[in-house]
């Protein structure tokens, strides 16, 4: 009979520092300063997270526009048991959020009670206290104040920063 097979813990770490390039560099700078930037594509659509090249024409994108601090949930998934390194360690919703002024949606976490979460929900950015220029500078989203009142989104837009 063969001996019991050996096993040992194996930990693989990726400590890489990446160059950010102009567009992602500007986007991450914005997050550090509590401003979310989108990139305007050739078809006029605003992409957030910003793309470096146009999804249609592949042209370099150089027009960045500040977006609102509020947005709309386009889809969600309730995460009852958060896993290591995820944005929150208490139950939360994964969400795709279309920020006001953007035409595409950003993936992040939403800190809200399960019963409150729905597609179309209005949400607001909760900034991390300490920000370094990373997607985690957005700690998570939270229900927008006065959520559901029509017009909130428009008032919020433009007063973002």
């Amino acid at each position: 009979m063969p001996p019991e097979v050996l096993s040992a813990p194996l930990i693989v770490e990726f400590p890489f520092t990446r160059s950010t390039g102009p567009v992602l560099g500007a986007f991450l700078t914005g997050l550090r300063e509590r401003v979310v930037l989108g990139a305007r594509g050739s078809d006029g659509r605003v992409l957030c997270p910003p793309a470096e090249y146009d999804p249609v024409t592949a042209e370099e994108l150089t027009e960045l526009v500040p977006l609102g601090q509020l947005g709309t949930v386009t889809t969600w998934a309730w995460n009852e048991r958060p896993r290591p390194y995820q944005p929150l360690d208490t139950p939360f919703a994964w969400v795709l959020v279309r920020l006001d002024g953007a035409d595409t949606a950003l993936l992040h976490a939403l800190d809200a009670p399960r019963h409150a979460v729905r597609t179309g929900m209005r949400v607001a950015i909760r900034w991390a206290d300490e920000r370094s220029g990373a997607i985690t500078d957005i700690a998570c989203f939270e229900p927008a104040p006065n959520a559901g009142a029509p017009g909130d989104s428009h008032r919020a837009e433009g007063s973002a920063a």
Partner: protein
């Protein structure tokens, strides 16, 4: 090409702020590594100072450490055998740069030792001799690490010269 600073200059809230140019986001993945059956047999014999190998039934090559397959024939190397603790240096180098996380003092001599009866060199260090004397063809023997005997190649501290005459090059030429 545009820079982040140029892109930010066009945005009133962000004009002039120090741009982010790099981001470090460390990631850590945890695994439980298992070496499989053949290498388990090899590793579990090391605390008993035994060197287990496998022979390919087709080409008769002997592999140590065994990996369960003959890479030449692509078949299971099914025949088990035990090798002596002596061998021949088939190549070596002197390492002067310390590898991160490796607790070995530099400089050290890193070599392939073709154990007697094997057809593939074992990675090993050469010690107990001036490095200037280390040479291809030199006869060496294993020095066991009595304090660290376990299911790991660290059970072998290093190889040291036996003092025998050098091996006939024909005995190792094909397996360098």
């Amino acid at each position: 090409m545009t820079t982040a600073a140029e892109l930010l200059a066009g945005i009133p809230e962000l004009a002039g702020v120090e741009p982010v140019t790099r981001v470090t986001i460390p990631a850590r993945l945890e695994y439980t590594y298992s070496p499989g059956s053949a290498q388990t047999r090899f590793l579990t014999a090391l605390p008993d100072k035994r060197l287990l190998a496998e022979r390919c039934p087709r080409c008769t090559r002997v592999y140590v450490p065994p990996r369960g397959a003959c890479p030449t024939c692509g078949i299971a190397a099914t025949e088990q055998l035990e090798l002596p603790h002596t061998g021949t240096v088939t190549t070596f180098c002197i390492v002067n740069i310390a590898a991160k996380g490796l607790d070995v003092e530099v400089p050290y001599c890193y070599a392939y030792v073709l154990l007697d009866g094997a057809n593939v060199g074992l990675h090993a260090r050469i010690g107990d001799t001036p490095y200037a004397d280390v040479r291809i063809g030199q006869r060496v023997e294993a020095v066991w690490n009595e304090q660290r005997l376990g299911p790991s190649l660290a059970s072998i501290s290093h190889f040291r010269p036996t003092g025998e005459p050098d091996a006939d090059p024909e005995s190792y030429r094909r397996w360098m």
